[in-house]
């Protein structure tokens, strides 16, 4: 029997694409789906997915848990668990459009949740940590239940299939987001499990990733020492946990996080001015187990922004362009031209050079 994601590590190549509006303008999902078409060759139909930010403005105060269940029992078990820690404000199936190319779907639900104050106090943690722990508990402990995403006013939509089909299936044309990220997957060996598709998410962090990292086990074993459990054995999962650890728990800035994950070479560090050199040396020392080697280009989405980053040798391609308040990022310029034929300032960031885009304060 083929082992599914989590039981075995499956290498995978891919395509990524993203668009963000600095003014917080909501964009339909139609374009981002179309942008994946010219990169069709980079996927093999075994996984596609999207993350949208700003999609639930009416429910923005609640954590939106997108869920996969294999059956009614796992759904029941999960709901039982959720009710212990949260008020379930709303629960509903995620609307889908039945199409021939997407089959074998699990039960797909979303829950808008408000954590119970008393339970947060009991756990002696802050609210975000409480929610993150709940999501990880479900993924590790409740068999058949899987949290696809769990941030506020955002959500991940993913499936086994080509990304353009996945977009149609989830009716992304009916959502409006100020930021979309997209992924087409090229796994090398998998029976196709919906949870294994990208983006991977924790709280409002989502990661889409192209490449296969060679430092995986060093990174996984490092991050697992701090309470994370890598159940999927995918690079994307480990990236997401690294981002959560460094950004939320260690409160590093995005730039500092990039200097950890894609640390400059020592020769480069030594050529920098003193203050920068000290900072880079410090970060590379303290978080040495989180240096990621091997090819990657990732797009990290979060509330109000995104960060794109290449590995330090730039073994994957990534192109960035702009038009008015919008910034576009993709594995290939062709994808950007679909999003915006007249995009300007087309450029390829250096290896390890983060591209950080934020929506204006108050606009999301």
């Amino acid at each position: 029997m083929l082992l599914k994601e989590g039981q075995v590590r499956i290498p995978s190549g891919c395509a990524v694409s993203a668009v963000i509006s600095r003014e917080g303008e909501l964009m339909s999902g139609e374009k981002i789906v179309a942008s994946m078409v010219p990169m069709h060759e980079r996927s093999n139909g075994l996984g596609g997915g999207f993350a949208g930010y700003g999609i639930y403005p009416d429910m923005a105060d609640f954590y939106a848990f997108h869920m996969f269940f294999t059956d009614k029992e796992s759904k029941k078990a999960c709901e039982y668990f959720l009710k212990e820690g949260f008020e379930i404000v709303k629960a509903e199936p995620i609307p889908v459009r039945k199409i021939p190319s997407i089959t074998d779907e699990p039960l797909i639900f979303r829950y808008f949740l408000s954590p119970l104050r008393s339970r947060i106090a009991d756990a002696q943690v802050d609210e975000r940590e409480f929610v993150a722990r709940a999501a990880m508990y479900i993924n590790v402990r409740i068999s058949g239940a899987y949290v696809v995403s769990g941030g506020k006013n955002m959500g991940v939509f993913k499936a086994v299939g080509f990304p353009e089909d996945v977009g149609e299936f989830y009716r992304l044309d009916e959502y409006g987001a100020y930021c979309w990220t997209a992924h087409g997957r090229y796994p090398t060996n998998t029976p196709g499990w919906w949870g294994g598709a990208h983006p991977f998410s924790l709280l409002d962090y989502t990661v889409v990733h192209n490449g296969e990292i060679s430092s995986y086990d060093a990174n996984r074993r490092y991050i697992e020492a701090y309470g994370y459990k890598c159940t999927l054995q995918t690079d994307t999962e480990v990236f997401t946990y690294i981002a959560d650890y460094l950004l939320r728990r260690k409160r590093l800035t995005l730039e500092e996080t990039a200097s950890v994950i894609a640390a400059p070479f020592w020769t480069t560090i030594e050529s920098r001015p003193l203050e920068e050199r000290e900072r880079l040396t410090y970060l590379r020392n303290i978080f040495s187990g989180l240096l990621v080697t091997g090819p990657f280009s990732i797009i990290l989405g979060f509330d109000g922004g995104l960060m794109a980053l290449n590995d330090r040798l730039k073994l994957r391609s990534m192109v960035v362009a702009e038009k008015d308040d919008k910034v576009f990022i993709a594995s290939e310029e062709a994808a950007i031209r679909v999003l915006e034929p007249d995009a300007v300032n087309v450029r390829a960031p250096e290896g390890g050079e983060p591209v950080i885009v934020r929506v204006k304060e108050g606009k999301y």
Binding site: A225, E278, T281, Y282, N285, F287, G289, L291, G294
Partner: protein, 501 residues
């Protein structure tokens, strides 16, 4: 009584057709194997004295000499081997505790040889190590994950004291006394050239070597020989020696005959007095006492130097390491049961302790499970024989490796394993000035630099094949390892999958 006569283990074969009767073999052999007959001309040999150090073989200008293993055996069987019989005879004749040197020679599994390495194919590119940057620099010391910032939000970049090494290999402790001045000189110079460290061992630091301080680890052992304020200040790090892989639980004993001249001065004990290292540190009877010693050393050096605690790999190693990690130590050095020694009781050497591969895997896993892996660095030693042993150790979870036997071989040691005799023909494990002179420190340093430069290239090549371009991405990366011919239990302790999985 003739019952104890043991036929010599080795026989010297001299090919008369080549021998020019120059007599160099007589002068070269400190054991007195070669000698001239009473006629003052004929060359003879006393095979019983031969230890097979190969000095005469290597120096004979006409290559006329070879040493062969004698074939005069006891009537051995699987249970009663020749050694087993011979050892009984020795003890019956002498009443003595059997003494040996170098590491455990028994046929226990060598796990390095049962681990296979990975390489990238298609999904992830191998990296060319010769042309693309390939980083082998490591830092040994604490990596506290709590960060702090100043009032402007800038990171406060105060790193704890640490060792910076240009490659993940250090020379491990060998004291001045157990090895020669020239051997120490070669190690110190090579460590400096390579950007790594050598280790004084417990015999103090010769005044001439203070200049190499930035590449020196000064050791503090139970005998506290040569330990004083200047000595502690001189090194880049301080190592507390709690144990040694070759003889866990056993102290040391350098006979008074070796405590002469500079050795006496460096150890700060009178000439001719035995140098006895007690089995324990008598100020450490429990883990909280270790903390006391760690901090007294830190206090004495104003918290500027990392402190290493070296322990032998014994059964409960994971729990012990966990305790040490919580004692304030910056680095834990684990010495496996194959680690070398100048002299150890044979029974201890051959039966006490565990393989360093298993110890390392257990400690790394345990420290991670407890969330304290980054509170210490891990250095392992105990028969690291080549660059792949180093790569496998790092993939299992080590930060760096200690080598000593390999370094001695580079200096000329031929592994005759008679260090305890003090007659080392290669000028390494001896204090006899005529023998010491045979080891040219500059040539020795050059050979050590050659060895580790070659290993470094090999490590880079292997890392490149894995698609890894910095050593920290290899550390603990056990997916890069697969076991071959190992049991489920062995695999589970090592934390690796079997080949084909």
């Amino acid at each position: 009584m003739q019952t104890d006569y043991i036929y010599p283990r080795y026989e010297v074969e001299r090919r008369e057709s080549r021998c020019t009767n120059c007599g160099l073999c007589v002068r070269e052999c400190s054991y007195g194997v070669h000698y001239r007959a009473s006629d003052g001309k004929t060359l003879l040999n006393d095979d019983a004295k031969c230890v097979n150090c190969q000095r005469c073989v290597a120096t004979c200008p006409t290559h006329a000499i070879k040493i062969v293993k004698s074939n005069c055996d006891f009537r051995e069987n699987y249970n009663w081997s020749g050694d087993a019989i011979k050892e009984i005879m020795k003890q019956a004749g002498s009443g003595g505790v059997l003494l040996s040197s170098m590491g455990n020679p028994q046929p226990f599994p060598v796990y390095w040889d049962k681990l296979l390495l990975n390489a990238s194919q298609v999904t992830n590119p191998p990296i060319d190590p010769l042309r693309e940057p390939m980083e082998t620099r490591v830092f040994l010391g604490k990596k506290p994950s709590e960060i702090s910032r100043d009032e402007h939000g800038r990171l406060i970049c105060d790193l704890p004291p640490r060792l910076t090494l240009e490659l993940p290999i250090l020379f491990s402790a060998m004291s001045y006394g157990s090895i020669s001045y020239n051997a120490h000189a070669a190690l110190a110079a090579a460590a400096t050239k390579l950007g790594t460290c050598y280790n004084t061992g417990e015999g103090g630091l010769h005044e001439n070597f203070y200049g190499y301080g930035a590449n020196t680890i000064v050791q503090v052992a139970s005998g506290r020989f040569g330990v004083h304020k200047d000595y502690l200040e001189a090194g880049a790090a301080i190592e507390i020696k709690m144990g040694q892989g070759a003889k866990p639980g056993i102290g040391g004993h350098l006979p008074g005959s070796k405590i002469v001249g500079d050795v006496s001065r460096t150890r700060m004990i009178p000439e001719g007095s035995d140098a006895i290292s007690p089995a324990p540190h008598h100020d450490i009877y429990s883990i909280e006492d270790l903390r006391q010693l760690v901090f007294s050393l830190k206090e004495a050096t104003e918290y500027k130097k990392p402190v290493i605690v070296k322990i032998a790999a014994v059964h409960n190693i994971a729990a012990i390491a966990s305790g040490i990690a919580r004692s304030g130590a910056d680095v834990i050095a684990i010495d496996g049961f194959r680690g070398g020694t100048g002299a150890a009781p044979t029974r201890i050497r051959d039966n006490v302790g565990i393989p360093v591969e298993l110890a390392l895997a257990a400690v790394d896993t345990r420290l991670r499970d407890e969330g304290i892996r980054n509170d210490v660095s891990l250095v392992v030693g105990g028969s690291i024989r080549n660059s792949t042993d180093v790569v496998k150790a790092i993939a299992l979870g080590a930060d760096a490796c200690y080598i000593a036997t390999a370094a001695l071989i580079a200096l000329g040691c031929h592994m005759c394993r008679n260090c305890q005799s003090g007659k080392c023909n290669w000028g390494i494990a001896t204090q006899n000035p005529d023998l010491v002179r045979r080891l040219d420190p500059e040539e020795g340093a050059r050979r050590l630099v050659n060895l580790l430069t070659a290993w470094k290239h090999e490590i880079m090549e292997i890392m490149g094949g894995m698609g890894i371009n910095s050593i920290e991405a290899l550390r603990g990366n056990r997916l890069m390892l697969r076991g071959i011919g190992l049991t489920e239990k062995e695999l589970s302790v090592l934390g690796v999958a079997h080949a084909g999985e």
